[in-house]
Amino acid sequence: MESEPNNTASGSGNPKEEATLKVPSKDPKTKDDKKDEDLSEEDLALKQQLELYVERAQDADLGLQKVALESMRQEIRTSTSSMTSVPKPLKFLRPHYGTLKSYYETMADSDLKKLLADILSVLALTMSAEGDRESLKYRLLGSEGDIGSWGHEYVRNLAGEIAQEYSKRVNEEATVDDLIELVEQIVAFHMKHNAEPEAVDLLMEVEFLDLLVKHVDKTNYKRTCLYLTSSARYLPGPDDVSVLDIAYTIYSKFEEFPSALQIALYLDNMQHVKQVFTSCPDLLRKKQFCYILARQGISFELDEEMCADEEDREALQEIINNTKLSEGYLTLARDIEVMEPKSPEDIYKAHLLDGRASAGASVDSARQNLAATFVNAFVNAGFGQDKLMTVTSETSGGGSLGNWLFKNKEHGKASAAASLGMIDLWDVDTGLAQLDKYFHSNDNHVTAGALLGVGIVNCGIKNDCDPALALLADYLDKEDSSIRIGAITGLGLAYAGTQNEQIRDKLTPILGDPKAPLDVIAFTAIALGLVYVGSCNEEVAQAIIFALMDRSESDLGEPLTRLLPLGLGLLYLGKQDSVEATAEVSKTFNEKIRKYCDMTLLSCAYAGTGNVLKVQHFLGQCAQHLEKGETFQGPAVLGIAMVAMAEELGLDMAIRSLEHLLQYGEQNIRKAVPLALGLLCISNPKVHVMDTLSRLSHDADTEVAMAAVISLGLIGAGTNNARIAGMLRNLSSYYYKEANLLFCVRIAQGFVHMGKGLLTLAPYHSERFLLSPTALAGLVVLLHACLDMKAIILGKYHYVLYFVVLAMQPRMLLTVDENLKPLAVPVRVGQAVDVVGQAGRPKTITGFQTHSTPVLLAAGDRAELATEKYIPLSPILEGFVILKENPDYREEA
């Protein structure tokens, strides 16, 4: 951001200082004389010349005056071109500024007076005292000629003064029309001279961004929009929305539809999304839009207006429905050659440990088998094959008693059955076929797992036949609560973000059912929260609020109750002020849950906004020392992370603040801090965070240690990061005797090798611009569950770990041709460089390597095509990108 133009420019700061310094000196005259002696002959001549002009300008003869002023102007104009030093004429004219000013007052209105005003305006650039805005004053009185003729520095200074004057006038409710006129001139000048940031800044100061649309052209609209979108992050609402609206308008104007679409998605403005579709005539580009929509994970129905041809529409809808995600992911896997299934032992790599490896336990441990189930599910996620669940009993390793499923205990079997859904992730047809047989099991846990598995396999995929709804609906009213939870959670995962009314009609009655046990109600609230994530749906909110109010005093103390406020919060995810009415209602809740609810709602509502005030609010909450063992500080700490994760600067600040909490906070804060760090750096293993977590993983407090271990997994999720893998391996031997911690270590290992390193959990995508609400919701549910690890994850609700599926996405770039078939092209992949507001055409990536698509993209990586042969239809090379042949391309000989 440009703070004040006249301070940033190196050339203009100095003379002013000199000027102010001179005033107090006792004998200015002698000093001046002395200075004269130092001057070269040429300069002396110029000085005398100018002094003559000043004298003449005050002459009674108008003709003489005119000549003098014009010559003076000539001198100034010819010299302002130099940037490095103070222009000589300005320097020499400085002593006469006062004289000229006072003479100006005595002049009669005439062209000459205006001419003098122009000159005074320029002189004021170096002379006028701070805050006087004389440059602006004389400019307005002047001839209003070409503003650029006085040079760049003058314009910048003027812009700064306008901003000040504007805010003053707005306060006084005076008219600003004359200023706006000037602004228009300045903006036009800036836009023509590659100074888009200055133009945008000025317009933001005077709240007149609409003007921008008129002045952008083909050459500068990209830079302008880039500046607009990146500055929007730091603007308070509602300014950010208006800025992005302008960017959207500009992109639309220049038919840069993918970027326009991205902004529409950022604003969550479906009207804009629709407009993008209707205004773009090209089917192929529309397909690219569909890929962008699919990545964002929102449900969107195309209508005839957006695509007239029914067949085309179906093809487009199919892309939005993500039906080809599995195929693309497997293409990537085959290309990287990681199709071979991995067993949990391949992940644990116990042979690398010093003799400390568990003493080859001869009896199965249910806890360890459960951990292996999860590790197996995460590692082989989406590959459709593994070494535990999909193998038949005959082929599985010798000595094992039949099916792996039955090597799990009770509710463990539910997670085992559900893991099939994870293994066949996104491949609905195969997944349902695999899971089908478990529907007929007479073991309730197995059936429950199969139901949950259906939800997992359908996660993010839409299907016209709605198999998940059809299959799961029948089980919602079953007697057994584990089956009910399985079906409810399955629906929540499968229809997250769809706002499907059928689901609402089926689930809301459960919330009001007085006979339903607490766990069923808790998971119903979460499922509804997921389906209606960020929708602010009144009815669902009401239902959850009533459910909360109906809880008995003892229920409110249960660890699972925390999921109810969370379900409510998810409805307002990222919706900022919209939460206020509900937050007001939550103040009437039972004292036990009131504060907790308040924190949860607030953290969800401002998630991903980067709102500094909210971060401070949460920090304030954490500073309190609690007596009564209240738990609301946990969500407050998570809230810091949820709000601050929006952009890098705030993120780094939050990490530092969390360090403080770690030192001064009490136990219930300390155990949430690792989780917050995990969210801030999810799938982005920053070394210093890794070290902090590694330190905390040896904490004397087991809950802190467990949270830190899980978070180590989260920050390394899907990266195969060798350092984290090593840390976890050592932890597994360090904690070999503590079953709970070992379980956490195993889960974390599963996270790190998630999808054999092809996946990411980061909810941000498209160069960290867009936030997928469902992905964030899934992570938040998991983290809230981790706040009471012992009761939920280490208890019998370990399947909440599967909520992470909502955030799982391949971290790939897959280029496809016009028929949507994979197309291998060379791309350069390197660390992304921030080019906002930089001059010229700077490189956007650094330290790149050239690969052939499909390629993996790490956090902070950016790709660009290394060939001219194709034109990508999306400016951001992430996920699926359609390539069009470049008609101008000529094969080099």
Binding site: D354, G355, R356, A357, A359, G360, A361, S362, V363, D364, S365, A366, R367, N369, G398, G399, L401, G402, N403, L405, F406, K407, K409, D429, T430, L432, A433, D436, K437, Y438, H440, S441, D443, V446, N463, D464, C465, D466, P467, L469, A470, L471, A473, D474, Q502, Y736, A739
Partner: protein
């Protein structure tokens, strides 16, 4: 009759005709022909749910060419195995020991690490354990004093406790009885018990046990402890001055490894320890003269105990000072050349067999691998079996031991099974720790109440030469060969 297309798994069946006059069951049978999925397992997705057998087609609003999806498999329903697996978490505590793979630790009762480590080492001798189980609670032989009897009973109970528990055991009873029997262990210093020499503790306990476990019933003087640990020595006592020579035999419970400047390896130290000079009255000279005593091993024990003579009384500091010299010891010890000629002759045949066996093993590694995996399976099923009670199983091993006694031959080759180490500068200070090889071949370091798994290669690094733990007593188990 509308035609629809049906999607099943990855296949698409286009143009399936629906007879809307018939019940959906007929349609399902049609699909059964196509897919092989029995109608009752078919789940067909239509608007708003699953197609029921008694649904009315007209209400479903089928459209010509609509895509239906059918889910279902003809796969066998996975059945739970008859006998579910037994999980460690479900086992009673004593059986978890098997699962953990090592026995419990012992709490330090105030400078009792010397006792703890001694007991952990002795605990690793199964034959001693079984002999103790046989020991009668009340019927003590007349020639045994009360305190010895109590100490024996306490030892037995402590061993049982160790076997039963996963969590550390506090050896309160044993500690009390030990102090009663040997008051020197009860010495107080500044109001707390003093650190003692583990070797002394070891010797005293073994002595008591040998007294107690002498079975009075059998006429033969069957001394279990002697059989297990006793080393028969035959010594030639020679006087250089007079040329007198005599033969002596004795039984000791441990070999001493003397550490001098030339000793770098256990073997050298042992040789050193078997030679000694003594001064005694010479009948021929009529005065005392220097005799050279040169001992050879004449009878091998099952468990060979070796004590490193690391401590010597330092008068100036008035304490047992320690020799820090590094003395290497092997995992596999051959004491053939320390044996007497008679014994050597006896050992020759078994040793040959042992060599042959080794050769075979090396040649047929693959086969051996197979058998070992079978072994582990057997072990697993053992562990999973219902609680047989540790007493019973140890009885079985005892029977085995007794039975095998007859047809087993010692070879003079020994394997390291336990090391008692000391860390610190004098015997009465510092810290004692036991390093014991478990039945599953894993090494566990018993640092009082904290058992820590260790690597075998690290065990031989306890040979001294620094301030780290160094071996003080080593226990080797005889490698036997069946005859």
């Amino acid at each position: 009759m509308p035609t629809v297309s049906v999607k099943w798994q990855k296949e698409l069946y286009p143009a399936v005709e629906i007879d809307t006059t018939q019940s959906p069951y007929v349609f399902k049978c049609q699909l059964y022909d196509l897919t092989g999925v029995p109608p009752e397992r078919q789940k067909i997705m239509v608007k708003g749910g699953i197609l029921k057998d008694d649904s009315d087609w007209s209400k479903l609003g089928l459209k010509e060419g609509q895509k239906l999806m059918m889910v279902g498999t003809a796969d066998v329903i996975a059945k739970a195995p008859e006998k579910g697996p037994v999980f460690m978490e479900d086992l009673p505590e004593e059986e978890q020991v098997v699962a953990v793979g090592h026995s419990a630790g012992l709490f330090n009762l105030g400078n009792t690490c010397y006792m703890n480590s001694t007991m952990q080492c002795l605990h690793s001798v199964p034959e001693l354990k079984s002999a103790l189980t046989e020991y009668p609670q009340s019927g003590r032989s007349n020639d045994l004093d009360q305190s010895s009897h109590l100490l024996t009973v306490a030892t037995r109970d402590l061993f049982n406790e160790l076997d039963k528990n996963v969590k550390p055991v506090a050896p309160m009873q044993f500690w009390m009885v030990l102090r009663k029997k040997y008051p020197q262990f009860g010495q107080l210093h500044n109001g707390s018990f003093m650190q003692q020499d583990a070797e002394e503790c070891w010797t005293q306990i073994l002595y008591t046990l040998s007294q107690a476990l002498r079975s009075p019933s059998t006429s033969a003087n069957l001394d279990t402890v002697k059989e297990l640990f006793g080393i028969d020595l035959v010594s030639r006592v020679h006087c250089a001055e007079s040329g007198e020579e005599s033969m002596e035999t004795e039984t000791v419970y441990s070999l001493k490894c003397h550490i001098s400047h030339e000793v770098n390896h256990l073997h050298e130290g042992l040789k050193h320890g078997l030679k000694s000079e003594l001064e005694k009255a010479s009948p021929s000279l009529g005065r005392s003269a220097v005799y050279l005593k040169d001992s050879r091993i004449n009878g091998l024990p099952k468990y060979l105990t070796i004590q490193f003579v690391r401590f010597f009384w330092k008068r100036e500091s008035n304490q047992k000072a320690k020799i820090l010299r590094k003395v290497d010891y092997p995992l596999e010890l051959d004491i053939f050349d320390l044996c007497s000629d008679d014994l050597r002759k006896n050992l020759e045949a078994p040793r040959q067999m042992l060599r042959d066996e080794d050769g075979r093993k090396a040649g047929l590694k693959l086969k051996q691998k197979n058998t070992s995996s079978v072994d582990s399976d057997v072990k697993m099923s053992d562990a999973e079996g219902p609680s047989t009670g540790s007493g019973e199983s140890s009885k079985a091993t005892l029977g085995e031991a007794v039975a095998s006694d007859k047809n087993v031959q010692l070879t003079g080759v020994y394997d390291l099974v336990a090391v008692l180490t000391h860390k610190g500068r004098s015997a009465d200070s510092g810290h004692y720790v036991a390093w014991v090889k478990q039945e599953n071949g894993k090494w566990i370091q018993f640092d009082d109440d904290n058992p820590i798994p260790q690597r075998e290669e690290d065990i031989t690094k306890l040979s001294g030469g620094g301030d780290w733990h160094m071996a003080y007593i080593c226990m080797y188990k005889a490698r036997t060969i069946p005859m």
